[in-house]
């Protein structure tokens, strides 16, 4: 249920962060207002978006703090000034033990060098999948895949195969004590002014099929070329494997585990729509 209580956010000098679940801190980069998507949303007749509001497709990074600490992704190169102060405030005197990259895509990995310079003892963690790590400066990183677990002391992260991905060097991550699945480029959606750094249970608007479609018809442009049933079969398998897990996407708002089940269904409708109607544009 939506709540009107203010989200427990803290404004740093230059950006935003909050605790989203115990031990999981969320650092968000809004990017600019997406006027083109806002127009498309209005034309679609959607009722979740209020004309005049800014519309964002965010980048999210997540800091996990057990006895040891792990940062998942780094925001885009435009937001080092958001990420680093937020990290410093969250970590205080503590070291950053791991920087784990979902994939070496610019809006996800854009501040890797800055983070490693600021925390020189930090272990870089990269997906084991793929063959061209040296072309991304990832040849010396610790490589992780579905067999691997990092025990952070109080939190335990695993690296399930990325089911929906844009390039070969890619992994998803799960945290097993809070039961959270980090879905990277999948399960994203736009949000508007007043909804930044809120979970889906803290906003008053619905995240329906159309809202998920605005994101995936652009980012997963290849839905237009698929056999929809192959994608829905993979989505259904995820819904079973991760039943009850909260979802923490890189380009949307986190979805509590208790609310997650219908989102898988909505994604199945999204892929059927994009396969029938084509891509929505470019992000």
């Amino acid at each position: 249920m939506p709540t009107e209580t203010p989200a427990p956010t803290a404004r740093t000098e230059a950006g935003w962060r909050r605790d989203v679940w115990p031990g999981i801190h969320w650092i968000q980069e809004l990017g600019g207002h997406r006027a083109g998507i806002a127009r498309a949303v209005l034309e679609s007749g959607a009722d979740w978006y209020k004309p005049g509001n800014e519309l964002y497709v965010p980048q999210n990074a997540y800091l996990l703090t057990g006895e040891r600490t792990l940062l998942w992704d780094t925001l885009s190169p435009a937001s080092g000034h958001i990420l680093l102060p937020a990290l410093e405030e969250l970590l205080g005197e503590r070291p950053l033990d791991y920087l784990a990259l979902s994939h070496p895509d610019v809006p996800h990995a854009g501040n890797t060098m800055q983070v490693l310079r600021r925390y020189p003892d930090c272990q870089l963690v990269a997906p084991a999948a793929g063959e061209t790590h040296a072309l991304y400066h990832l040849d010396d990183a610790m490589k992780v895949g579905p067999e691997d677990e990092i025990d952070l002391g109080g939190l335990r992260v695993r690296f399930p195969e990325a089911t929906f991905l844009d390039a070969a060097i890619h992994t998803w991550m799960s945290e097993e004590t809070t039961r959270t699945l980090f879905t990277v480029d999948w399960m994203g959606f736009p949000h508007q002014s007043g909804e930044s750094l809120r979970r889906t249970d803290e906003i008053a608007t619905v995240v329906d099929v159309g809202r998920l479609e605005e994101f995936h018809s652009r980012v997963m442009f290849w839905f237009q070329y698929v056999h929809p049933h192959k994608v829905t079969a993979a989505t259904d398998a995820l819904a079973v494997q991760f039943a009850g897990y909260g979802l923490a996407p890189a380009h949307g708002l986190p979805i509590p585990g208790a609310d997650a089940a219908p989102y898988y269904e909505r994604m199945n409708e999204v892929v059927r729509r994009v396969a029938a109607g084509g891509r929505g544009g470019v992000l």
């Binding site: 990017g31 600019g32 997406r34 083109g36 980048q59 885009s76 190169p77 435009a78 070496p104 895509d105 610019v106 809006p107 854009g110 793929g130 063959e131 061209t132 040296a134 072309l135 991304y136 400066h137 990325a162 929906f164 991905l165 844009d166 390039a167 070969a168 890619h170 652009r218 980012v219 997963m220 442009f221 290849w222 237009q224 070329y225 698929v226 056999h227 192959k230 994608v231 079969a233 993979a234 891509r279 544009g281 470019v282 992000l283």
Partner: protein
């Protein structure tokens, strides 16, 4: 027009530092040349190349290559442009092996224009880029390019471009193929037939993970429609050798087989 390796230059020779500056770029005709680089993988070499296009107002570089090959690319571009360097880069997408040399090349040759497609250049680390979008016809240094929606790509903001003057179709991560060590500088039709189709399959299986969900007919249909609208004298991929007009049908047949195999490896298509 060039069709085969010049004097049997091999990757190994091209890689040796003392030969680095002597390996020339390979002329495809129409003012387009291939500046090839390769990277070794388990099952073969993958090209991570760039192309130079002669335009009335300067040299255009198609993508910037990988930082891994920076110095040798810079030397060869320097030689090929008689020291003038490049006047613009048309960037297919911001993936690092395509975009990684932009800052260094701008230091070498000044703040030349970057033409790139993406919703938000800042997020892609290209605040200075001129944005193009699919469907545009854009002029770069006095030469016209048609900006196309790529059926084969990894990042959603990828674009392909068609150079009308030379009828070269620049296809970024599309139309790739692995090649055997030593065959780094021959066009696709001149690769040894043995293993050539497998190189097309290997490339797609590892590089475009979404193909496991694809309907091969839909992908091939989109490609055929594009080739009909923009008939290429050359197809110019970053991760494979250029494909001459006479070889396009054979490549498409191998690609269709590869997509069918990849699709079959993931569930039924019924």
């Amino acid at each position: 027009m060039w069709r085969r390796a010049d004097a049997g230059a091999s990757c190994e020779r091209a890689r040796s530092p003392e030969r680095g500056r002597t390996v020339s770029v390979i002329d495809l005709g129409g003012g387009v040349s291939w500046v090839h680089e390769s990277f070794p993988e388990t099952n073969g070499h993958i090209h991570v190349s760039v192309y130079l296009v002669d335009a009335p107002e300067g040299a255009i570089l198609m993508d910037s290559g990988s930082f891994h090959h920076r110095q040798r690319l810079a030397d060869r571009i320097h030689d090929a442009t008689a020291g003038r360097g490049i006047g613009a880069i048309i960037l297919s997408h911001s993936d690092y092996p395509h975009s990684g040399n932009i800052p260094a090349f701008r230091r070498d040759w000044g703040d030349f224009e970057i033409i790139a497609s993406c919703g938000d250049p800042d997020l892609q680390g290209l605040p200075y880029a001129r944005r193009t979008k699919i469907g545009d016809v854009t002029e770069v240094l006095g030469r016209r390019f048609v900006v196309l929606d790529p059926p084969l790509a990894d990042r959603n903001h990828t674009t392909w471009v068609y150079d009308e003057a030379s009828r070269t179709l620049f296809v970024a991560d599309g139309f790739g193929a692995l090649h055997a060590p030593g065959a780094c500088d021959v066009d696709w039709g001149r690769l040894p037939e043995e293993g050539r189709a497998e190189g097309v399959h290997e490339f797609h299986a590892q590089t475009l993970p979404w193909l496991r969900y694809a309907d091969p007919n839909r992908v091939m249909g989109a490609l055929h429609a594009m080739l009909e609208r923009h008939p290429p004298a050359w197809i110019a991929p970053i991760h494979g050798p250029p494909i001459a007009e006479a070889d396009v049908d054979r490549y498409m047949a191998d690609l269709s087989d590869a997509l069918t195999r990849i699709a079959a490896s993931c569930g039924s298509s019924e």
